[in-house]
Symmetry: D2
């Protein structure tokens, strides 16, 4: 039995990992840390947890918040985790950070990312960067497994696009230039913070593209795909918001390489993800939607080719709060601690 601390427990990402940990047979929740609702049970702000998780939320400076734990989930904004990680590592913890702080294991990669968000580009703990691993198990399982102590949990769009494109890029099913990621996200991806665009009357019947001048998740995707392709590449990425709570649907386009067909592409995807517990590959006759992955750690890929126009097209479906966030975090924890990878995650969602 290991003990977990959740920093940022009162946001959606914190609550999400708490819900999952409550069902995990090998973990107990030792401490909840946040800067709001301090001194009250978490179930005060999240009444669905009443009777399940009535643990008191601690201020970051409280003694209990500082106590050592085996694993620390940092569901905190950019540039918070980087300041807390060293102390947790010294107390013996393994750290899983949700932000961009540890998604890049060199200072330059981080600086590019930070610049896109208008953040300070200097990392606060550059010495830790080489020890960190990008937490996408389907591509980095071995690195996560071997003695890693810091995981940079991937961005939700990045999970969706990278899983959807990795086989195509690695097996050169498509050309490396001209990739387009047309991504639609539900609103919980923006977290709990109030924003005018997410006020119910402004959102219930509205969809829109946003941040057209550049989204920060592009860095991760290009880094991962470039690594697989063996060459740098640039993608076109469009973020769009739709009136839903959970779900990302990314429609991914590329120029089909010579000789590739619907059948060859499908076969390559099935081969690539053959042993993956959380990725399923479907052909383009499948009637799937985000609702079929809601509440699960699954990524469903509908793989096809527009043969009229000679174009490759994959539709990638995830739950942004699960495979896109807390689910991936738990999957990473399972690998870090040698638990079976599906522990606490092997559950169908609920429908409808």
């Amino acid at each position: 039995m290991i003990r977990a601390k959740v920093i940022g427990a009162t946001g959606y990402g914190g609550v999400g990992i708490c819900e999952l940990l409550l069902q995990h047979p090998e973990v107990t929740i030792g401490a909840l840390v946040a800067i709001e609702n301090v001194g009250k049970p978490l179930s005060d702000s999240y009444p669905h947890l009443a009777g399940h998780l009535d643990t008191i939320v601690q201020s970051p400076n409280a003694t209990d918040a500082q106590s050592p734990h085996d694993v620390v989930f940092m569901s905190t904004p950019d540039r918070v985790g980087m300041k807390l990680a060293q102390a947790e590592l010294e107390k013996g913890a393994k750290v899983i950070d949700y932000s961009g702080d540890f998604r890049f294991n060199d200072a330059d990669g981080y600086a590019d990312y930070a610049a896109r968000l208008g953040l300070e580009t200097q990392h606060a703990a550059p010495d830790l960067l080489p020890q960190s691993v990008y937490g996408l198990p389907e591509l980095h399982r071995q690195d996560i497994r071997k003695a890693t102590r810091i995981i940079g949990n991937p961005g939700c769009f990045a999970v969706s696009c990278t899983l959807g494109l990795a086989p195509a890029v690695q097996a050169k099913l498509i050309e490396t230039q001209g990739i387009i990621c047309d991504c639609k996200t539900a609103i919980s991806g923006a977290g709990k913070k109030l924003q005018a665009a997410f006020h119910y009357p402004a959102r219930y019947e509205n969809m829109n593209a946003y941040r057209l001048s550049g989204h920060q998740h592009v860095c991760e995707i290009e880094r991962e795909l470039g690594r697989l392709a063996g060459t740098a590449l640039k993608i076109t990425f469009t973020a769009q918001a739709v009136p839903m709570c959970r779900g990302i649907m990314s429609t991914l386009y590329g120029t089909l390489a010579a000789g590739q067909t619907q059948a060859s592409v499908l076969a390559a995807y099935r081969e690539f993800y053959h042993d993956e517990p959380f990725v399923r590959v479907y052909d383009h006759s499948a009637a799937l939607g985000t609702i079929h992955v809601r509440g699960t750690n699954r990524c469903n890929l509908v793989v096809g080719v527009d043969e009229r126009a000679g174009r490759f097209r994959v539709v990638s479906y995830i739950d942004n709060l699960m495979k896109g966030q807390a689910g991936s975090a738990l999957q990473n924890m399972n690998i870090l601690f040698g638990f079976p990878e599906t522990t606490g995650l092997d559950r169908a969602g609920t429908y409808p």
Copy 2:
């Protein structure tokens, strides 16, 4: 380990009990029976179950559909279960029926109910009625426990209203006449069958009262409350539909008995439900909604008195597909087989 058969597996009620049984450590799903999608895995029509429940759906007449099981869930329309129950009982099963077929353990009670729905009023298996028990454990736990073989799982509105009013009626906190049940339901309560009123464009921004001339669940509520009150009573019941998927909010009004106050009413409710695992009592300062019970077997009651007008008011929240249907069914199964009552149901929902 017991084996379960689900008849009507392809409706929302059938899928709901399947999802729960998959998580129950003492049950395996032996057979799925339905009249649609026959011959295909259940996961074909419900892709979220892929890899979790790929069992083939059997036609009712198939040999496998006829095999004996320990428990049979009949998630079937009115007047179907009554024709199937005897054969299942003879094969040794315990039967839990979702419809009104076994909610009334005498033929007259059934006839009243059936008349409201415009159904034939003659029960098809009247000999079985005396053996059946109304499956609301909070009021009938002892009867369910003792060798019962047929459970009439309660209606979703009935669960909501009866739990919300039982303490008041039993302890005579309110007068027996003049009770009003103002009920609002999400759309999944009407099941999977297509209806013009539930077509997305007609529903996304619409709320309405319906069936104002009489709803069939009134019979159950009046029977249960009358039993507790020791006298027949008539309620006024209003069914209303709102654009949501899951949830019932019933606002329940009564004339406060002399001498009762906010404090006395609250104390009586807390006493009544003190040991109940699934019912929680809150005072009227609680900020609760249906979302806090979604996906759970909970009933949350916000108990209060409008002291200005001398009126009793309770707001009762459930998930119509859980405590209002499959969750209650599983709770009943746990009692019937002597499992701890919360087995497979002791889980917080997910938020948001």
Copy 3:
């Protein structure tokens, strides 16, 4: 042609009256006043108005904001209009205020109301109160018509409940005590201000009762109904929020007076509203919902009796931003200036 000024133009209430005034053949919009988006066209914050209303928003202190107009709509929070009204009156305007400031034409009535909201109970312009008229034309048309210069536009719940109960109370179809108003509102009723309860992920699948200890609209309803009844009365009022943008559904209950029936009640309602352009009376077989009044100034009443329980029940449907706010304001303006009452309001909504 008259000229209108809108104070509080950047809120939902301000935009709503602007949309209506744009279609009104006898009015031009002279000035838009607000404390946000000052100096920019209104169409900057409300792009649907681009090309229709690109007028610059003025700060309250700007010279243009002070210029005289024939009618001034004050879509401002409580206690703002009362400080601005005198100056506008002196410049010759007629004033229509959306808040509670002029809904009570005596200082005591106002104090009761203000206390419920936790506001200062002393009115800032008590001398103006006797000149004000409550702007519910169906009950006060004659008073509005005769030289009135200040209208207190009614609260949205109050419109819904008062119209739904007025005939019953006046004609003594029901007893004066024991009236219950069970009200469900869409979210736009709370305006544009961000609140945690109205963040999309917290709301899309949630309904809840709120402010159970007392809602401020009760004062208006009791005053109006008491006046019609000829005696003071107290109602029980429950406010509930559902995931919709526009619409109020109020289900109104009363104890049926001796001798009243479905037919007599329906006849009385039809008589009462016979000449009203915006109120329609239906019997309880009508399949109506809020969507059928959305975008219109209509109030649809489904009038019935629960004959089993001897109880009166009316379901009242309005659009909270139209008959519940800007539509009523325009109707009041039409009366004040002698225009046909339906001018600019005689339009079906759009469906779906």
Copy 4:
């Protein structure tokens, strides 16, 4: 004053044109024709029209349904209008058909389209095809104006994509091959017909791609763009459904031609649509969504370039039932009859 007949009056497209005609100063509605709700006022099935349009719905064979009118709107499924048009033309009407029947003015073009839908490919009135004009005024205004008697109203996706790409293709801002149309539609686009995918519980929290093997609107788009480009071209088209009632957002990608920049592209679009009353061009800093065109005949285009990747990207927003259907139909009628083009359409939507 002209008289209009609406065939298919009880569908969304029929009701939509009725709502618009009610506000048009130069038209009266003479006859409503449909195959359901025959013999009853249209307001029976659409209660928001009560008092506005209580005209009786006629069966197609009724005498009144056959009477001559100046304009006939055929809001009918594919292959219905082609059988009715000749008779209406002979009675002197101008005909506007919503289906694909008259979108192609030669038999081969029709056959391609019909094949995609699995329809019979032989047109039933091939002699009429050369007389028909494709009803997208921004590209075909002159042809519509000159004595045309049959308009093939364009498909909703086609309006969205063609308007979004026309300037780029015509001015060769992009290469003709490699165009991608990633389209997201609200659910009303599928009409009133019940479908499992549009049942509220299946849809409220679901988005999905559909018909990945080919959508029928592709034919129109390729024909129109090919004409502008002066060469045949093939696009990749993805249809996606999101949980909304009204709105299409199409994100349109192309390979930027050498030398083109954000500024040059924006300038070309502004020039192209300079005099268009219903198309507005914005740069990519605009915060727009479908809600800003809801209920209007507008098409808003957010025009930009992904300069990192050298890719052209336009986001096109329309209301699928207005500019995508009934609004375009009315715009076409205005041109056919010489009314100012914005008559009855010059109105902002409502917000929120």
